[in-house]
Symmetry: C2
Subunit: 358 residues, 2 copies
């Protein structure tokens, strides 16, 4: 088991080794390790080598000039200058928060960025200011819209964080697909089939093939098929894509560049710059007194927790599973899979750092 | 077949008959008939008698004082004073648009309202100003969150309308459930079962009983079951509920009053006032020049339309089906079901109006 602090320091050192300034390396490491702490292992330190690959292929600028290129009192476009999304997104959220402090809300569309880690991290930045935080991002096309054979959208997640009084915060953070791609990777490693409703094959037919996305198929939008509302999941993913990509001047739809997949590094970005995000902050007291709002949020949460549940289960509040995992992993540490440990050892060797193989 | 103009005039006369001022009666009629034109028959003139029932039971104020009760430059809470949601929501959207004109975006949470018709109508008000429009509303509890036996949320829809250059606008407008309740009503009338994944029974088991929601069951969130992401549909419905209800001071969750269902008229509103909505407008040129954005939206739409599709189908853009239905129905008229014609005839008789039974 690795302690979060240990992984944080190592990750920081790797980012410094590719030329990131100290403060940006620390921030990027914090965002990345927060994914491991919260149990979203696919978006954590397992991807560190991927960010280094982006750097190796000239797609990552370690010393970006992140700046507002267009703005009104409550809106802006931020250019990430090909910096780490892990750094660009928190900077953009900071600008959203400052705008909200002045005029009630702030909405930032970001271009020229790349993978920003877990959406929830950035949305949760708003909580301590008694603001509601929003985060979205587009991503490389893996998803087939309803009736489509072509992959046109990414898993395009949405996160909304809402402050509370005594209860833990409400933090919804989810992809606009039936499942995230990471679930297929787990099944592939185990040689297991996938449930119907997660993917389609190259002919647009339902499939249990957990390799379907690699062989001409696609991930299905939330809702899985037309009869169960896949056009709604497609609509949600499209909204995320438009706000993140079209509004900012980033790439969108089928043109969003892949994160760092081997073989896809020399991508043609034809319609914009890099990956796009959309972040927002709304001051709760721009609507009603913050204490009043937060005590009603506590009441909301308690009512849902008290709902009668099917046997052996309980009704969860969005954010519950991640928060419980974080509490556990801060105590007991984070277990890394052998291939992840291997990739971190290779990074250590390359940059002359130490990494303890457990 | 009834012409839209004819239904508009009749609906206007009914609203005037219960005391609505001329301009509000006209606006409410336009919103209601736009649902019939766009093919969302469940939210159109079929509900006119329901609004009158709200009035009969003292839950509808025909001459509301709709006003801002709290605001910042980009946010506000509007109190609907128990007015028609069909009137309160467009007034709130107008305020959102005015704020967006001044500071880039405007976000309005509404309390003390009731059913506002189709969400898409209000979101589309932003289009002619080159703004992106948002609409959400909470609704009476019919939906069981993941693992819940209790109905805790409404079908809580979300609409986002995005302006374009030469292509028709992008208009996503969907409930956060697998299907809207209207689909069950159609099956009930025909005595047909429902597909699995639409509802659960009183024990939380999957069911094909199209009467399940009436006998202790519930509608399922988008995603249908945990394995297919129902916690995401639940999360989306929860976000809509919090922004509409908790943020405004309306009722929320299980406390949202029913529209006008017989037997549920004397509702205990325990946590706020009436039904809540959330509306927003963002100036496109608060982010990038409007012409640039709109021509990229055209490009987005054309790329998705050109995607290869499964045989006999095509990839649709959100808003396509409704727009096509509207074009047809403006030409050919609107076909009303016999029970709807009957309810309109009864209203005509009660208020001394004419309604031609076809």
């Amino acid at each position: 088991m690795y302690q979060a602090d240990y992984l944080q320091r190592f990750t920081e050192d790797v980012f410094k080794s590719i030329g990131c300034p100290d403060d940006q390396a620390a921030l990027a490491a914090e965002v990345l390790v927060s994914a491991d702490l919260r149990g979203i292992d696919s978006h954590g330190i397992a991807r560190l080598a991927g960010y280094v690959r982006l750097y190796d292929h000239g797609r990552l600028n370690p010393t970006p000039n992140i700046q507002v290129v267009h703005e009104t009192p409550s809106t802006a476009v931020v250019d990430g200058d090909r910096g780490l999304g892990l750094v660009v997104a928190p900077k953009a959220m900071q600008i959203a928060i400052e705008k909200a402090e002045k005029v009630g809300s702030g909405w930032i569309s970001v271009r020229n960025s790349n993978h920003f880690g877990i959406a929830g991290y950035h949305a949760m930045m708003a909580l301590e200011k008694d603001m509601i935080g929003w985060t979205m991002t587009n991503a490389a096309p893996l998803v087939t819209p309803t009736f489509s054979l072509d992959k046109m959208l990414g898993t395009n997640p949405l996160a909304v964080a809402v402050p509370t009084q005594d209860e833990p915060a409400f933090v919804a953070d989810f992809a606009s697909t039936a499942v995230a791609y990471g679930k297929f990777e787990i099944l592939q490693r185990k040689g297991l089939p996938a449930p119907l409703g997660w993917a389609q094959d190259a002919n647009g037919e339902p499939t249990t093939d957990s390799n379907a996305v690699k062989s001409g198929g696609g991930l299905l939008p939330l809702g899985s098929d037309r009869e169960h509302g896949s056009h709604k999941g497609y609509g949600l993913g499209a909204i995320v894509d438009i706000l993140s990509g079209v509004l900012s001047g980033a790439n969108y739809g089928p043109w969003v560049p892949p994160f760092a997949t081997a073989g896809f590094m020399a991508v043609q970005e034809r319609v914009g710059q890099g990956t796009g995000h959309f972040l927002g902050a709304m001051r709760v007291d721009g609507f009603r007194p913050a204490d009043e709002f937060k005590s009603h949020m506590d009441n909301w949460i308690r009512a849902f927790r008290k709902a009668r549940a099917v046997e052996g289960k309980q009704v969860l509040i969005p954010g519950d599973p991640e928060r419980e995992t974080e509490a556990l992993r801060r105590q007991e540490g984070i277990d890394l899979l052998p291939p992840v440990v291997q990739s971190l050892s290779e990074l250590a060797q390359r940059f002359g750092l130490e990494f303890e193989v457990q």
